[in-house]
Amino acid sequence: MNHLMIAPIVLPLFAAAIMLALGGEQRRNVSAALNIVTTFALVAISIMLLRAADVAPTGVAGVYRLGDWPAPFAIVLVVDRLATLMLLLTSLLAAAAAVFSLARWHRAGVLFHPLFQLLLMGINGAFLTGDLFNLFVFVEVLLTASYGLALHGSGSARVKAGLHYIVVNLAASLLFLIGVSLIYGVIGTLNMADLAARIPAIRAEDRGLLEAGAGILGVAFLVKAGMWPLCFWLPSTYAAAPPPVAAIFAVLTKIGAYIILRLSLLLFGDDAGASDQFGDQLLLLGGMATVAFGAIGSLASQDMARLAAFSVLVSSGTILAAIGLGQVGVTGAALFYLISSTLGLGAFFLLIELVERGREPGADVLAVTRELYGDEDDTEILQETGIAIPATIGILGVAFIGCAVVISGLPPLSGFVAKFAILTAAFNSPIGALSPATWILLFLLIVSGLAALIAMTRAGIRSFWASPDRTIPRIRLIEMAPVAALLLLCAVQTVKAGPVMRFMQATAQSLHAPHHYVRGVLDSPIKPDDSRGPT
């Protein structure tokens, strides 16, 4: 059990190293097999860790001390409910994306499989680590791998979008460093649990600096989470990324949201003295602005990939706004929403490529004027060999409806349960009178669902019904199966909504009561009087 905790980091690292040592591109089949095996092993490991965290009375399954030094001095990995939940989500999406990539996309460029494993290593590390600077390192690992993957397949659209993506994220990383070093300068530790223990006792004159540091750190993560107005890089990058990469990118914005959730509740939760609830108002407003921006953007999108990218923004904004409400019930429901929307978006990104395969590029824009110009140039674009599934279009259509239902939050799938749970929890708040912000959030959630529905219906009509030149795309089983599996997971999440929601609520409760986490990491009562900065 003990060393299983570091397996989600070590396993992909070794897998990537072995792939490179085996000769990278010369043995792509070996790399592909290794990628699949490792990714599915990660699913199994995540499930085991999740179970361990769920049965642990405090919600912390274990603390892995690197080098076995005691906690405040060495880097720790903390396996608690939230971390394992995110690990499982990542590995499920990764498994779907890896299987999907085998059909054709892993041949579109070099070193797909090693980069994919390094990305997983960075993501898993960011979820598991309990140290701010180590978090920076893992975030850089995952970003560097994601730069390579975003450019996988090359082409000027990808390079153009990738250039913006890299510049924005490098600048955000510098902000991250400034925030981390400010916090270190004030408090003198970077261990998250130790920070949480020391923050209530810091001097009043240092509080401004601490909050400035936390604010700068927050901005760095809000860039990654895609909060308006820091999100303009996101739609073009996600739309240009290769589909299996875009599917795994659906979880990248959630890393920003995850860290915001973890740090805001750990450092500025109810026990934080004068700094409690720091930034919540801003998160709520920013999240709502993001939802509005994403909804408008998805209505304005001409093609499906951009529509999906704007849906990522809506999902991210909903989660940020729900975090900003700062209530236990809402946080639990937001986690449910996070899982559902990420799975739905992952499936949608994979599906888009299959749907678009039978169509000419730019067909959406031309669809209206198509009749005027005729369509003699009706060429078969793709020569993919494979078994044409009968009634391909029908299967694609059903999967598309599934994605639309999950993303827009209609019954009967999990998107509806998630949004309903968020709103129910927000309206049953123990605080008493409802704030205007809650009403606006209600309005925005419903309107954004409507906008998503309109946009997806329009896109669906265009690509399934109104394309005069549509050729039936050849789709292989290993491309359709991941999409179906992700949608099936959404269905399972709906059917098993009771147990899943219980787990989410338990997660939210342990997040809102961080002393278990702090005690679990530090293992001893904290003396408040040693909370001075470095000498």
Binding site: K160, G162, A171, L177, I178
Partner: protein, 112 residues
């Protein structure tokens, strides 16, 4: 000492931000480098400045901790330097690819 370092960080960061907002990719990469120098100096400064002290350990007994500088920011800055060096090199490759594919060094891939 503090004022010199503060002005140095300020000048580097200011020039870096200005260059980052320029339209040419070469200006952007120089801006990012300057910004990362500013951030590295800032991290060192967060470990508090000390004059006339040994960089890590002096000749006196290691039990006397008062004369020692904080080693952690030095470790952090080392990591930050390595990472920003690597990411800048990676960005340079993308910059060249963009130049080759689009024929222009504008960040949007086309002349305005």
């Amino acid at each position: 000492m503090e004022i010199v370092l503060a002005i140095g960080i300020g000048v580097l960061a200011g020039s870096g931000v200005w260059l980052l907002l320029r339209p040419r990719t070469f200006q952007v990469i120089i801006g990012l480098s300057l910004l990362s120098y500013a951030v590295n100096l800032f991290i060192v400064a967060m470990g508090r400045l000390k004059i006339d002290a040994a960089p890590i350990l002096g000749s006196h007994a290691a039990t006397d901790m008062t004369g020692l500088p904080d080693p952690l920011p030095q470790a952090l800055v080392l990591t930050a330097i390595v990472i920003s060096f690597a990411t800048t090199a990676l960005f340079l490759v993308v910059l060249l690819a963009s130049r080759g594919l689009t024929g222009t060094d504008h960040v949007d891939g086309r002349e305005p």
